[in-house]
């Protein structure tokens, strides 16, 4: 393997590092280290996982093909196992060599040894007969077929279950007699082997014979096509534009609502279910869509935790900037944010695996790093599909399963549905097919060309509303920034779409007045925005609300002074010494102060007044003079320490002497022990040494740190290396050692 890697050209090495990026970081010291790293389990696992189904099947077939040290993997054998031709398989084999899952020995192609550990049961096939207990060779293929034709039904049933994998079965005690009978028959005819305990295994050769010499039931060397409905590009772009209009309006309404009434950030982070429901009803969308809008705004940095002591979710200053931009630019910002976010809005409301409760929007559980990769995969499928094709979700799922057979999550269908749904809401697709602007997004274009791609499909902004006597206003298109904000403030949105219907209510008008607008400003802005005069009932409504607005005032102070004698209060106001109290008169007989009541009382007394303190319900505070006491105290016993005495010292010295003697003995042992010296080696090298030794059935000297931390020297006969452990024998005993405890290894 190392020779193979050393023999590669620069281009081939570049291709390898490009396809297996984990090999490049940290940079390996030399090509041997690169080869060693490329054959580590973790790296091979990664490489195998990223294969598509065609490559995976070829690799499995190559692993299955009988190979010895003298006869390597033959393309024709692999092709025969897959029911294909050598010409078809060869490019795939070459590709697998490029990513160093195969290597070229002088005799020919070989599978990298670690692949066998990653793919334990390649194509659902069991171990070879010689590797199973008993180590007897399997019966020849024709004998298998002949024996099977005589098999009793129970035995046939077991074989049928094992043929296409999984190749192992458990026959627990209490297995029905008929089944146990069938298993016994199979064992007697050497068709299955017992692998200790209650397990049986179907040897690889037998399975291949039963499979008719094929490795896979359904070879899939070419990718499946997407199928679905065809849309015209115009319809797609028009639908996308309409969705974008809706989406931008929703984000604006979200920001308007949370700008006014920011919801609390949960202690665990995230948004309470109740708040999500509420924003859903405000936006008049279901919770799935509400969660999407919230998460999208968050991903685009348009809203965030405000970081205050009692934190709440609120729009960011970036929102204000974003809100002023034209619709196409606004879309480009959120669309790019969506493409790159690792948040998964579709998880909101579901129960996370292995936990209780539900996932909260904006919470840590809705952060799911695989989401970005999967989203990209789904969109790439759309991008590869012919223009205007709206693929069925099932066909996207098929295509993805082919592309990453080992890496699809169990929830693939849900992820695809969510991605397609979100893409539709974002106008990345229109009626299921990729829109022009969506394609630009996938191509990674910059902000301005993205916006330009969306611009023709968005309705032109309007700068007027139609005011009606039933107290509604209708904007017959998307409103330009400032006016939209004003309308949302002064009226409630009643219906959304191409146009927006606003309804004026006393509450909504009061909201505008609370926000600091004056009556004349409200009416003036409305009449400027309308081509027709402001209807009299609307004008009346605004003025009527304004009439009552602010009639009563509410504020907070820390102390009040009340006195029936207005002259006394007047004197207090005029007294310069009382100015630190910042007294203010709110009625002829009441003064208020932002200073604590006790301080006010003290100040007044010092300045010749004789106030009495009042309780909140109007009673007089009577201090219990001279009887101030702390609350009841609990007493704790004092801390004491014991010293060092003779007895302790004697014991300690004895122990130290014994330790020294043990160390001397150890040094003596080291000097006289057999075998080479063991410099410490790094685990990658240790693994390579052990793996080679296991394959060549050689013994190695190991330094092994035991449970007490002492390093032992062992002469070890490794048999197999898997899962960070090495299995083998030492001094005639079976032992399993953890690789991370091996301090060094050298061939003995």
């Amino acid at each position: 393997m190392a020779d193979d890697v050393r023999g590669r050209t620069d281009d081939e090495l570049r291709a390898l590092l490009h396809r297996r990026q984990d090999l490049a970081r940290p940079a390996p010291a030399d090509l041997s280290a690169l080869a060693a790293r490329a054959s580590t389990r973790a790296s091979v696992q990664r490489a195998v996982d990223s294969l598509d189904l065609a490559h995976l099947q070829v690799l499995e077939a190559a692993l299955t093909a009988p190979a010895t040290s003298s006869s390597p993997v033959q393309p024709s054998t692999v092709a025969a196992l897959l029911g294909s031709t050598a010409a078809e398989v060869q490019p795939l084999l070459d590709d697998l060599w490029t990513v160093a899952l195969l290597w070229r020995s002088p005799e020919g192609l070989r599978v990298v040894r670690t692949v066998g550990e990653v793919l334990v049961h390649p194509a659902g096939l069991g171990p070879r007969a010689t590797d199973l207990p008993g180590a007897a060779p399997a019966p020849p293929a024709d004998a298998v077929v002949a024996a099977v034709s005589d098999a009793p039904p129970a035995a046939r049933a077991i074989l049928d279950r094992l043929t296409w994998g999984p190749p192992m079965a458990v026959l627990p005690t209490g297995t029905p007699d008929r089944v146990a009978e069938g298993a016994r028959w199979l064992l007697e005819h050497h068709l299955v082997r017992s692998v200790g305990g209650e397990q049986i295994a179907l040897p690889r050769e037998v399975a291949l014979a039963l499979r008719g010499g094929r490795s896979h039931a359904e070879p899939a060397l070419t990718s499946p096509d997407l199928h679905g409905e065809d849309r015209t590009p115009d319809a797609v772009d028009a639908a996308a534009g309409q969705q974008v209009t809706d989406l931008l309006a929703l984000v604006d309404e979200l920001a308007a609502e949370w700008g006014l009434r920011p919801p609390r950030v949960l202690r665990s982070g995230g948004l309470a279910v109740r708040d999500l429901k509420r924003i859903g009803s405000v936006l008049d969308v279901d919770e799935t869509r509400a969660a999407f809008v919230v998460e999208l705004a968050y991903a685009a940095g348009l809203l965030a935790d405000d970081g205050s002591l009692d934190p709440s979710w609120a729009p960011t200053p970036a929102y204000d900037e974003w809100q002023q931009q034209p619709g196409d630019q606004r879309w480009a910002v959120v669309a790019r944010a969506w493409l790159l976010t690792t948040r998964a809005p579709h998880l909101v409301g579901t129960t996370p695996a292995g936990a209780s409760g539900t996932v909260n929007a904006l919470g840590p559980d809705a952060h799911w790093p695989p989401a970005r990769g999967l989203r990209r995969d789904v969109l790439d499928q759309l991008g590869d599909a012919p223009t205007g094709l709206a693929p069925a979700p099932a066909s996207v799922a098929n295509a993805l399963r082919w592309r990453r057979p080992r890496r699809v999550p169990g929830t693939l269908e849900a992820v695809i549905a969510a991605t397609l749904r979100e893409a539709e809401w974002l106008g990345v697709t229109g009626r299921g097919a990729l829109s022009t602007a969506g394609r630009a997004l996938l191509e990674g274009r910059d902000q301005s060309s993205l916006a330009a791609a969306m611009q023709p499909h968005l309705p032109d902004p309007v700068e007027h509303v139609l005011l009606q006597a039933d107290l509604t206003a209708i904007a017959p298109g998307p409103l330009a920034g400032g006016l939209a904000t004003f309308m949302r403030l002064v009226a409630d949105v009643e219906s959304r779409g191409g146009a927006t219907v606003y309804r004026f209510t006393p509450d909504s008008v009061r909201r505008a007045l609370d926000a600091g607008w004056s009556v004349d400003q409200v009416v003036g802005t409305l009449s400027d925005a309308s081509h027709t005069p402001v209807p009299q009932p609307l004008d009346y409504l605004v003025r009527d609300v304004a009439r009552r607005h602010g009639q009563a005032r509410v504020g907070a102070m820390r102390a009040y002074i009340r006195c029936d004698d207005e002259t006394t209060l007047g004197a207090m106001l005029a007294e310069r010494a009382l100015s630190p109290l910042q007294l203010r008169s709110i009625a002829p007989t009441v003064l208020v102060s932002p200073v604590a009541a006790e301080t006010v009382v003290d100040f007044l007394r010092e300045n010749g007044f004789a106030p009495a303190a009042e309780t909140p319900d109007g009673g007089i505070v009577v201090p219990q003079a001279g009887r101030h006491r702390t609350p009841l105290q609990r007493r704790t016993s004092p801390v004491t320490a014991t010293g060092v005495d003779d007895e302790l010292v004697t014991t300690l010295v004895g122990a130290l002497r014994a330790g020294e003697a043990a160390a001397d003995y150890h040094r003596e042992q080291v000097a006289t022990r057999p075998g080479p010296s063991l410099p410490s080696t790094d685990p990658t090298t240790t693994l390579a040494v052990l793996r080679d030794a296991a394959a060549d059935r050689q013994a190695v000297w190991l330094g092994y740190s035991d449970a007490d931390g002492r390093v032992q020297r062992l002469l070890f006969y490794p048999e197999r290396v898997e899962g960070g452990r090495v299995h083998g024998t030492t001094e005639g005993l079976n032992r399993t050692l953890s690789i991370h405890r091996v301090t060094g290894a050298a061939v003995g």
Binding site: Q242, A469, L471, T472, G498, Q536, P537, D544
Partner: protein, 549 residues
């Protein structure tokens, strides 16, 4: 993006820009499947509902036409989900068909077996069904035809009723067209009804609904049962029918508390039909007394619940519902649709007004400010007493006097809810008062005097809500009402909408107490006015002098 007059919203409302050159074209295209919800001055709002879509299917429109109408007239892209929803919803209609089989009688047939299986398992539908004939057909008892249709509509699988109507006992009825003729919209309403077989015609008060009834009877040429709200309106129906049709006094019977006549054309009150003795409806026989060919429901929005149940049994007869508004405060619009039939004709009031058939109206809300003592009393009152307290405030009386004085000489009605208040008003204004306690004879005498102009001012209670015909009332002043009832508002406005001989504008005043529930309810009612296209103004009582008389 086209420049169409229609904007399709994601909540399935359609906004129609009235001033657009293609607005009328678009209105005609969407009217078959969308309900007109609001008709203020600039933009009319229609709503697409499953019921409307199924009605369109029943009238022979298909999903393609609907989708096409939306796409053709829409200014922006139509939300795709809405189009899919339209197609899906309309596709649900007609999977089940009620039909008459010569061998088995009434049965339900399906073209989609899973649907039949689904409805047969529904716990409310199961008991209505008879024996199963084969995989696609199930017997239905004729008396359950209405219930079944009602329940099927509720589960979203409306049945297409092809079982047809019985012709009923033939009786010759002609319109007496000597000195008048049907107005175009009335004719359209009759045609729309007759074409559909059964259904509801929505026309504003004063637009001549009685004549639509007469027209339908002339089409049916069969014995007719007319159900009305009270005896006064029963007499008016009789007078109108004698005047406008070939029917004579002998042919028309009255079935009410006072008289029990059954004749080829019988006019019965809801009240007598729903009278119960020992828990039994004693007058139900009336429905079977003759082989009625047509049943007319006047003021169908007031149809009491027991009548619904009885109507469910009358599905084989042609049914015509007449009303000014389909708004029911009890929300049972769907029952009206499934039992009487879909809406067959509807026109915005303003349109009919523009054609000169109803009087133009000036609606004014007059706000009075309660004096401090009353405001305090109001603030501490129990919630259930607040409305009465606010709407009966004595400060309203001088305001009413002022309005009456401004319109001196014009026929004026003062309408209220609370008798004490009405009595006081009648004393102060020196006018007669008509309440539920007034005898029929006295009532008719006063109405007649009002009609001929001997008196020009009447104070009336709730009795004025329904079908009294006061042709020359041109000013109505309402001082209190049944909370926020929009239906009542429609009826009261109707009192002044009858066309005036001299084309005068009608005036409709509401006097409300500021900052109280009275004003809140008034806002609710006024929204209805505005949605019907009537601009209204709000003035303070102190500014009343500015109101042009």
């Amino acid at each position: 993006m086209t420049d169409g007059p229609l904007i399709v919203q994601s909540d399935k409302t359609l906004l129609l820009e009235v001033d657009h050159p293609r607005a009328e074209e678009a209105r005609r295209a969407i009217a078959p499947f969308a309900e007109l919800e609001r008709a203020p001055e600039h933009i009319h709002t229609y709503r697409v509902t499953p019921l409307g879509l199924w009605n369109a299917r029943a009238a022979g429109h298909d999903a393609e036409q609907v989708v096409n109408a939306l796409i053709t007239f829409s200014r922006y892209a139509v939300p795709h989900a809405l189009l899919v929803d339209v197609a899906d919803t309309m596709d649900r209609y007609g999977r089940l068909t009620l039909e008459k089989d010569p061998e088995h009688g009434l049965l339900l047939r399906t073209t989609d077996r899973p649907v039949l299986e689904e409805v047969l398992r529904h716990k409310k539908i199961k008991p209505l069904m008879g024996e199963r004939i084969d995989a696609d057909r199930v017997l239905v008892h004729p008396s359950e035809r209405g219930h079944l249709k009602q329940e099927l509509l509720k589960v979203g699988w409306p049945a297409e009723d092809e079982a047809g109507y019985v012709d009923g006992e033939a009786h010759r009825i002609d319109l007496d067209n000597a000195d008048w003729s049907m107005r175009p919209y009335q004719q359209q309403a009759v045609d729309g009804f007759w074409h559909g077989g059964s259904g509801v015609v929505v026309l504003p008060c004063g637009a001549g609904k009685t004549l639509v009834g007469a027209g339908a009877m002339a089409q049916a040429k069969a014995t007719t049962l007319i159900l009305v709200t009270n005896t006064v309106s029963a007499r008016q129906w009789r007078d109108e029918l004698i005047k406008r049709t070939s029917l004579t006094e002998e042919e028309i019977g009255e079935y009410s508390g006072a008289r029990k006549e059954i004749r080829p054309v019988t006019i019965a009150t809801y009240q007598v039909l729903t009278t119960r003795r020992k828990g039994v409806y004693t007058h139900l026989d009336l429905l079977d007394a003759r082989d009625w060919g047509l049943i007319v429901y006047d003021e169908v929005h007031l149809l009491p619940a027991p009548i619904f149940r009885m109507t469910a049994d009358l599905q084989a007869r042609r049914r015509l519902g007449l009303t000014a508004t389909l708004v029911r405060e009890d929300g049972r619009e769907a029952d009206v649709f499934s039992l009487i039939g879909p809406k067959r004709y509807d026109a915005p009031w303003k349109d009919i007004e523009a054609q000169g058939y109803i009087a133009p109206a000036d609606c004014v809300e007059v706000r009075v400010t309660l004096p401090d003592s009353e405001r305090l009393a109001y603030a501490v009152a129990e919630p259930e007493d607040r409305y009465r307290l606010a709407s009966c405030s004595p400060v309203k009386i001088p305001v009413v006097e002022k309005i009456v004085a401004q319109h001196r000489g014009e026929p004026t009605l003062v309408i209220g809810q609370y008798l004490d208040q009405l009595d006081e008003l009648s004393q102060r204004l020196g006018a007669e008062v008509i309440t539920g306690a007034t005898s029929v004879a006295e009532r008719q005498k006063l109405f007649q005097a009002f009609r001929v102009g001997e008196i020009d001012l009447l104070v009336v209670s709730k009795v004025a809500n329904f079908s009294i015909d006061l042709p020359e009332a041109s000013v109505a002043i309402q001082v209190s009402g049944t909370f926020g009832s929009r239906q009542e508002e429609a009826q009261r406005l109707g009192r002044v909408l009858r066309p005036k001989g001299d084309g005068r504008t009608a005036h409709f005043y509401s006097v409300v107490a500021r900052d109280t529930v009275d004003a809140e309810f008034a806002a609710h009612r006024q929204r209805f006015l505005a949605e019907q296209g009537y601009a209204y103004r709000i003035v303070d009582a102190d500014d009343l002098g500015d109101v042009p008389a």
